[in-house]
Amino acid sequence: MIEIRNINKTFDDRQVVKDVSFTFYKGKTNLIIGESGCGKTTILKLMVGLHKADSGDILYDGQNFPKLSVIEQENIRKKIGMLFQGGALFDSQTLEENVQFPLDMFTDLTKAEKLERVNFCLEKVQLVGKNKLYPAELSGGMKKRAALARAIANNPSYLFCDEPNSGLDPKTSIVIDNLIKNITEEFNITTIIVTHDMNSVIEIGDNIMFVHKGENWWTGDKSQILKTKNQELFDFVFASEFMKQVLGSPKS
């Protein structure tokens, strides 16, 4: 479980995260949603330590991350897997080497054991037999799946996904969503997903925080979000006429 309490972040006199508190539960797909530029990726980066919060607490199973020593932070980071928006696969390495990388760095497994783990992860993301391909040879969806395989290679306790569906077609998006959901439940991981994709919200939104202008504006789950009376959330969810027709606007 990860808990954030009253976190704030300012860039050049512009406060992008305002007193945000939320709890992300273990074994659930926790979503941070909101419009582009609302501060959701910044919250994610604050949580993993890529940005430093001006104030507030970030508790990883009770351990306050910003207040830990560098070594203690590194130890927590070893339990984190992250799926970046662009995949962030290492260009110079094959798919197998990419997935094996965390194992090389942090485990003393034998070559055969590492290969077994790599193949297990690739099987989980449906990339069996693609071991020797380079990132440049993969499609957008395959890159995301490969990055997901790397993220889970070292048995993470926490999985962060930054817009996992961006740039993907709806069918591939659903594949990625379901993979994340299955992995979360199977390995009992605390998963945090930043997205503005409404399909994802409806498919896998166990626990949702809606961020608006850097603030935690609304919390709930996928069933509650469709009945919302919150004006800002309503405008976000039912931004298109299509969504109003398909989902049925609660205000109509």
């Binding site: 993993v48 330590g49 890529l50 932070q73 590194e74 130890n75 927590i76 980071r77 070893k78 984190i80 992250m82 970046f84 928006q85 662009g86 962030a88 696969l89 290492f90 260009d91 990388f101 965390p102 090389d104 760095m105 942090f106 070292n154 962060f160």
Partner: protein
């Protein structure tokens, strides 16, 4: 103030680069990869430039010596001194600053803008150490060998050009390259090479590592890496020359 900001940030980066390696076997593998990547792959350009420059220096020296009072073995002597003291250690390193420096800055810069460095950090890996230390170690190890090859080929190129053009005889050239040889000057030359190897890799890595933005900024980082590395090479060449030669 901007200069002090960069100097401070450069040394802070170096502090992280030389932190204790997290996994020695992985670092060792990277160093071997970088020896090939930034060292061995630079051999063709070094071979071509050294042979031609040796030939050119010989012809120019022979042309400049028009007094009958100056013996023709001075052609070999001048070529050796020029190649050993300045051309191979400094000019070849300036060329390597262009080739290797831009390569390092653009590689690390591209990794920065595509979040690959963030991925390393989130995994709990010291990205500066993992990415930069092997490059510095590889360059400091392999550059002296490259420069030694350059010296040999430069002098060989001078011999071939000098003898074939009739500027001097084979005996005169070989006598010249052995005349008044001071082994201490090799110590000076290779000290310069070690310093330049460190400058090229660390300064280029600094610019790459601190790239922000997109492809345009990667290009700018690459240019800055070559410009600053070159200026620093010339500055330190002057300082080391003053320290070693002009004592």
């Amino acid at each position: 103030m901007n200069l002090f900001f960069h100097i401070g940030r450069y040394f802070m980066l170096l502090y992280r680069v030389f932190a204790r390696p997290q996994k020695h076997s992985v670092y060792m593998r990277q160093i071997i990869f970088e020896i090939n990547n930034i060292g061995i792959s630079s051999l063709p350009i070094i071979v071509i430039i050294s042979v031609f420059m040796g030939g050119i220096i010989t012809i120019q020296s022979a042309h400049a010596i028009d007094s009958p009072l100056v013996p023709l073995y001075a052609v070999g002597f001048t070529t050796r001194e020029s190649i050993m003291l300045e051309f191979s250690p400094t000019i070849v390193c300036l060329i390597l600053a262009g080739k290797v420096g831009s390569n390092i800055a653009s590689e690390i810069g591209a990794m920065r803008i595509t979040e690959q460095i963030d991925a390393l950090e989130i995994m709990g890996i010291n990205s500066a150490g993992y990415l930069i230390f092997p490059k510095i170690a590889a360059a400091v190890f392999i550059f002296p060998f490259l420069i030694a090859i350059s010296m040999f080929l430069g002098i060989l190129g001078g011999y071939l050009m000098g003898v074939s053009s009739g500027a001097c005889t084979s005996y005169q050239y070989i006598y010249g390259i052995q005349a008044f040889f001071d082994p201490g000057k090799l110590y000076y030359s290779f000290t310069k090479v070690l310093v330049f190897a460190f400058i090229i890799t660390s300064v280029s890595a600094y610019f790459g590592y601190n790239t922000r933005g997109g492809a345009l900024e990667v290009g700018k980082s690459s240019t800055s890496a070559v410009v600053y590395s070159s200026v620093l090479i010339l500055l330190f060449s002057l300082i080391l020359t003053e320290l070693f030669i002009n004592r």
